[in-house]
């Protein structure tokens, strides 16, 4: 199937359902473990041959009642997924890459796929060409598995176009780094297309932050380990980690470019970028929360209950100080004026 997917050393465990991509594990396995895995791999290859010969759509899948063209498309896509998942839903489906000896995970989590943004597509919508037949080729054909290839025309669904995202990604540290871990980095390295589901306006922010950060932590888990000294400079480090997305600081603050991941040394360390009188990030958060509010409550109820307020949004220390000084002086002036009037009247009465 998708041989360009991240290669992971399987340890026989299921992936956590919330993980956006499988956590990579490294390190030499013992000879016994390797032998067991090899045995499993051979057994699975045999299974593949057996299933491949009868990879026709399941009768119940194609027997779905359909009313119009859309239903027919959905039924066909469902039948296609069903056929592929007969093998790929097996959690142990994998093979050993003959070049480097690494186990290549070929399993797809059925539930994860169903809930993903691609959950209603037919597998061959992305895995085109020779993936229609079995056995599949070892490598994807050029142009297969290309996000932009499919998505470049549907940028109306996004606040920015896919072309912008592509350009941002090409400037990202993941794309320009010479580090061996960054070799072959692609959209799929972070966004597992079989699980990926973008944040939806209306979801609790805490969940959005957690889901976003899990994508980063699937590779960078060591940064948040108990003995990690990473981000030590950050006051209330743990509070930041649960309330702020990694990309909020690790992408350029001045522009909205969440796919241009910056190297650590160029990332935002200036507290006043968020906690300041010119709070670009607070404004961005306010706009997001406003959209969320409207989606959840509706236009009219939002006017009363608006939960989008971000404390500090409308604060300018200089303006506040100036205004309070003017108000204070005005109070003094009016008090003095009133006192003057009182004294003038009293003097008049005495006279």
């Amino acid at each position: 199937m998708n041989a360009s997917r991240d290669r992971v050393a399987r340890q026989g465990a299921q992936l956590h359902p919330d993980q956006s991509r499988p956590a990579s594990t490294t390190g030499p396995a013992s000879t016994t473990v390797r032998a067991v895995r090899l045995g499993w791999s051979l057994a699975l290859w045999l299974c593949l041959f057996a299933f491949g010969a009868s990879a026709a759509p399941a009768p119940e899948a194609i027997a779905e009642p359909v009313g119009d063209a859309l239903d027919i498309d959905r039924a066909e896509a469902s039948a296609d997924r069903h056929a592929c998942l007969r093998c790929h839903a097996m959690s142990t489906l994998a093979y050993r890459d003959p070049d480097d000896g690494e186990i290549v995970d070929l399993s797809i989590d059925r539930e994860g796929l169903a809930h993903s943004v691609h959950g209603e597509l037919a597998c061959i919508d992305c895995h085109r060409r020779s993936y229609r037949r079995y056995p599949h080729p070892n490598r994807p054909a050029p142009g297969d598995l290309d996000c932009i290839g499919c998505h470049e025309d549907d940028d109306h669904d996004l606040s920015r176009g896919w072309i912008d995202i592509d350009a941002e990604f090409k400037r990202s540290v993941h794309a320009v780094s010479d580090a061996p871990e960054a070799l072959g980095f692609s959209c799929h390295s972070c966004h597992d297309p079989h699980r990926f589901r973008p944040a939806v306006v209306g979801e609790p922010i805490a969940r959005i932050v957690r889901n976003h950060n899990e994508v980063c932590l699937s590779c960078h888990m060591q940064l948040v380990g108990p003995s990690s000294t990473s981000h030590d400079w950050l006051p209330n480090r743990d509070a930041h980690w649960t309330s702020v997305r990694c990309v909020d600081c690790h992408t350029p603050v001045a522009v909205f470019a969440h796919h241009e991941i910056l190297p650590a040394e160029d990332s935002e360390q200036n507290c006043v970028s968020c906690h300041s009188a010119d709070p670009q990030l607070l404004a961005r958060l306010y706009q997001f929360r406003s959209e969320e509010d409207i989606a959840r409550r509706g236009l009219l109820a939002k006017a009363v209950f608006n939960e989008a307020y971000v404390v500090g949004m409308s604060k300018s220390p200089a303006l506040d100080r100036l205004s309070l000084v003017i108000m204070g002086l005005m109070v003094l002036l009016l008090a003095a004026h009133g006192l003057g009037r009182y004294l003038a009247r009293r003097a008049n009465r005495r006279a």
Binding site: D278, P279, Q280, A283, Y286, Q287, S290, E291, I294, L299, K302, A303, V304, F305, N306, E307, Y309, V311, M313, S314, K315, S316, L319, D320, S323, I326, M327, M330, V331, L334, H337, G338, G340, R341, A344, R345, N348
Partner: protein
């Protein structure tokens, strides 16, 4: 004692509703702006109070503009440009000097004109200048997602937020001065009483400027 019926019921009702809404908006606005202090309104309460009072203030403002335009009250807002400079100087001189010498007020309230020039300019500025800016910026704050990303080259949310805050401070300043100025009537409470009963009372007989402005007796 002569009396002028200057404040009809709808105007007094509107005035006192406005006053209550202003107080609610200031209390809740300050509570949100300086959130965190113990003596302030709880944030969640302040949010709903501020939004509700803002909606009611919008309705009250539209009601005022429409009713004022359709009633005789509009005449009090017509600026007399011919005598504007002289009136302004006389009024300012009175508040700065004459009031301490117990001089008579340079402006005499009539049915044709109940506001002196300073009052006229400040009420015009507040009702047709600051208030619409305050209300529009408040609504723009609520529905900022429909604004362009930038206004005048600056982030639109920031522009809206700063406009709202600046106008709020200016209106709070107006309220402060307004509350003091009403004590400068014949007695400290005579202007306040007039806005409650509708009748402006004067011990000294006013000098009639036109036959139409002649005062009538209190019923």
């Amino acid at each position: 004692m002569t009396s002028l019926y200057l404040y009809p019921a709808w105007l007094r009702l509107w005035h006192w509703i406005n006053a209550l809404l202003f107080l609610a908006l200031i209390a809740s606005g300050v509570s949100m702006h300086y959130a965190g202090a113990d003596w302030l309104m709880p944030f969640a309460t302040a949010r709903v109070v501020h939004n509700t009072a803002g909606i009611l203030l919008t309705i009250a403002w539209i009601g005022f503009v429409v009713t004022n335009a359709r009633s005789e009250n509009a005449r009090h807002y017509r600026v007399r440009f011919r005598t504007l400079i002289g009136d302004l100087i006389a009024q300012t001189r009175y508040y700065m000097i004459g009031i301490f010498r117990l001089e008579p007020h340079p402006f005499h309230v009539t049915e044709a004109m109940k506001f002196n020039t300073l009052q006229q300019l400040s009420y015009l500025g507040v009702m047709y200048g600051l208030m619409p800016i305050l209300l529009i910026s408040g609504w723009a704050f609520l529905y900022s997602v429909y604004l362009p990303e930038t206004l005048f080259g600056l982030g639109s949310v920031w522009v809206v937020a700063m406009t709202h805050v600046v106008v709020s401070y200016l209106l709070a300043l107006f309220l402060l001065v307004h509350m003091y100025i009403i004590t400068t009537g014949e007695t400290v409470f005579s202007n306040l009483r007039a806005m409650i009963t509708g009748w402006h009372r004067e011990t000294d007989p006013p000098r009639p400027e036109t036959p139409a402005s002649a005062p009538r007796e209190t019923p």
